[in-house]
């Protein structure tokens, strides 16, 4: 497998240290940062990006990329909202949303593996298709107003922890088992490391690669459920640029865009770094323009480490 265990853990440790340092700096700069309500707040705000980034990690490790996650999120959100408004129960509506997201992923995977299109192009197309479907379906308007049972997905606080945070942990738990302890997951590393070698050694490349895109889109579906419950509304314009946030989180967490290496823990820490940065800059009253600049600096910094490490390896 292409993953170098010692290098990866050192890299993750570095990212974690980065997150902790960031926390310390904010703790010094503002008294509002290190409070339990604010930290729960940051976790809740990072949930959606973290969930999308979990799926993105699969696509990127397999040597691909998925630009359609934001649009798929909007589309499955619209499916969810219309199902709920048509009187479907929460379990059915959520299943439909996840299924529609997974279907987009399946299409992505098939176009990449059977149509031999570069993932960038295939998912760029899907980005537009899913957005178009969402806008057509919802007639351009947000679909809002759901009953309280559905909203519990975002508003419930079991043991004081916001439900979206627990959902994120659940997603990461399942994804971790799939990525690190299943044939599927190990094959994705192999394919990302060297596709031709994997094929020659009998790995069903097309199947697993398609699987990576299905997982990726499905997590967008989960994020759509959380977002829709949180805003009590599904907007066909939701999730614009979420693909870039997810890619950024994944990359900050040490996943290589060349494929074959990366971890879910890294993606989670990456999403937290972005969440903490945004939260901290808000608390410090830094304008969103400067926030963009800062996040850009962090992304480039993180990737610089990656490339400088790789040159030495």
């Amino acid at each position: 497998m292409a993953r170098a265990p010692d290098g990866t853990s050192a890299r993750q440790f570095g990212t974690l240290i980065g997150l902790l340092c960031l926390g310390c700096v904010l703790w010094i700069l503002t008294p509002h940062f290190l409070t339990v309500p604010n930290l729960l707040n940051v976790l809740e705000q990072s949930a959606i990006n973290a969930i999308v980034a979990a799926g993105m990690t699969f696509a990127i490790i397999s040597g691909g990329i998925d630009l359609s996650v934001g649009s798929v999120l909007a589309f499955s959100g619209v499916v969810l909202a219309s199902a709920l408004q048509a009187g479907a129960g929460v379990p059915l509506a959520v299943t439909l949303a996840l299924a529609s997201a997974a279907a987009c992923g399946l299409l992505n995977g098939l176009v990449v593996t059977r149509g031999n299109l570069p993932p960038f192009i295939a998912t760029l197309g899907m980005m537009s298709i899913a957005r178009g479907l969402a806008l057509i379906w919802a007639e351009g308007r947000p679909i809002s107003g759901f009953d309280e049972t559905f909203r519990l997905i975002a508003t419930a606080r079991p043991l004081g922890v916001p439900a979206p945070v627990l959902i994120t942990l659940l997603v990461y738990g399942v994804a971790h088992v799939a990525l690190a302890h299943s044939v599927f997951g190990r094959s994705i590393y192999a394919i990302g490391g060297n596709e031709e070698a994997s094929r020659l050694s009998g790995v069903p490349v097309r199947l697993h690669k398609t699987g990576a895109y299905v997982v990726c889109s499905s997590t967008s579906g989960v994020a759509a459920v959380v977002l829709t419950a949180r805003l009590n509304s599904a907007q066909p314009t939701a999730g614009i640029m979420y693909e870039l946030d997810a890619i950024a989180a994944t990359v900050i967490g040490g996943t290589s865009l060349f494929g074959g290496e990366g971890t879910l823990v890294g993606a989670l820490i990456g999403a937290l770094i972005m969440g903490v940065l945004r939260n901290g800059l808000n608390l410090l009253n830094v304008s969103s323009f400067v926030q963009q600049l800062v996040i850009g600096v962090v992304i480039i910094g993180a990737v610089l480490i990656d490339t400088s490490l790789k040159r030495r390896r």
Partner: protein
């Protein structure tokens, strides 16, 4: 044999020191690069925040901090509103925090910003909602935290707000329906009630844009000679105004009037009209009376624009917030004046 072995040992020793050195360098890099980057980034942000801190911060510590969360800060309308709000805050000795999401459409980011500002313990919250219904859940959090709320520019959906027990202090805004009606009246007057009209809509589902369009449609519905030949959203954007209107002109070359629900779309359309050499042949009516639009009216490229008073809106919002903090009662609905800017009205100044 001996020589060989020693050579091998040397090589091994060399390799091991090299790898040890490499490891040391590796760990040093893995620790300090991200840490350094983050530190630099935060320092940048900190310096910026320090530079931007209003002077009132030090001067009047007791009056407290209020937050104004806007839809965006890259639109002249909201910059004017910000200016009005800052003037009022300075006068009242309030520490004002103005923030906005990166993109106007991003209700989730706006929600996050409001959540974060609630954490900083602001005394009052002014919001121009990015989504009339979506913003309700976070406003409920503010209500629970006991923070008075002032809504500016775009109304909150009243049913959703009631369902979530949101306590709205006041609404400050223009009567957008009235603005749309003014635009419609102007069209009827200046065309003697005969026109083939196109409409550029804002983002669908926005209360502001919908009211403007309703006002305009109601006004022109009285005249049988006015036909609305096309009506499409251009999402408040200048570039989309250009392309959508260009396409409309392709489909309906006989369009002789355009109502755009904001000036950015109107200005985009003006460029599309110029590109087909029809300047002056299409009467363009916009909304907001931005400086660019006023210049276009002066130059005869636009016919009129409905002027709102964003500066007054910002001022009134902050003043209302101040009164709510003091526990005074504020009217539930406050409108700022709306007027039509035309070439004759600009010549008058």
């Amino acid at each position: 044999m001996v020589w060989r072995r020693s050579a091998r040992t040397i090589r091994k020793r060399e390799a091991s020191t090299r790898s040890r050195r490499f490891e040391r360098r590796l760990t040093r890099r893995t620790f300090f690069l991200p840490v350094g980057t983050v530190l630099i980034a935060v320092a940048l942000g900190g310096v910026h925040a320090a530079c931007n801190r209003p002077a009132t911060d030090a001067g009047t510590p007791g009056r407290g901090r209020i937050a104004f969360v806007m839809k965006t800060l890259n639109h002249p309308f909201f910059l004017d509103m910000k200016r009005g709000a800052e003037e009022a805050a300075n006068r009242l000795g309030l520490d004002l925090v103005v923030q906005a999401a990166e993109r106007e459409l991003d209700v989730e980011k706006q929600t996050q910003i409001i959540e974060n500002l609630i954490q900083t313990g602001v005394k009052a919250l002014c919001v121009t909602p990015s989504g009339s219904k979506e913003v309700v859940s976070v406003l409920a959090k503010a209500t629970r935290a006991g923070i008075p709320i002032v809504i500016a520019d775009t109304r909150v959906d009243p049913d959703a707000a009631a369902a979530a027990n949101v306590k709205l202090g006041t609404f400050v805004g223009s009567d957008n329906y009235e603005g749309g009606r003014l635009a419609g009246e102007f069209l009827l007057q200046s065309t003697d009630g005969r026109a083939r009209v196109a409409i550029l809509e804002g983002i669908p589902g926005h209360e502001t844009g919908d009211s403007r369009l309703r006002g305009f449609r109601d006004a022109v519905a009285r005249a049988p000679g006015v036909t609305i030949v096309a009506s499409q959203p251009a999402n408040w954007e200048r570039d989309q105004g250009f392309t959508v209107f260009q396409n409309m002109l392709q489909a309906h070359p006989d369009i002789d009037a355009l109502f755009a629900a904001n000036d950015l779309m109107a200005l985009g359309a003006v460029e599309a009209i110029a590109a087909t050499n029809r300047t002056g042949k299409v009467r363009v009516i916009g909304f907001d009376a931005l400086d660019d639009a006023r210049a276009a009216i002066e130059a005869g490229r636009m016919a009129a624009s409905v002027a709102q008073s964003p500066r007054d809106m910002g001022r009134l919002a902050v003043e209302s917030a101040d009164r709510l903090i003091r526990g005074e009662t504020v009217p539930a609905d406050q409108t700022v004046p709306i007027v039509l800017v035309t070439k004759t009205s600009t010549e008058g100044r």
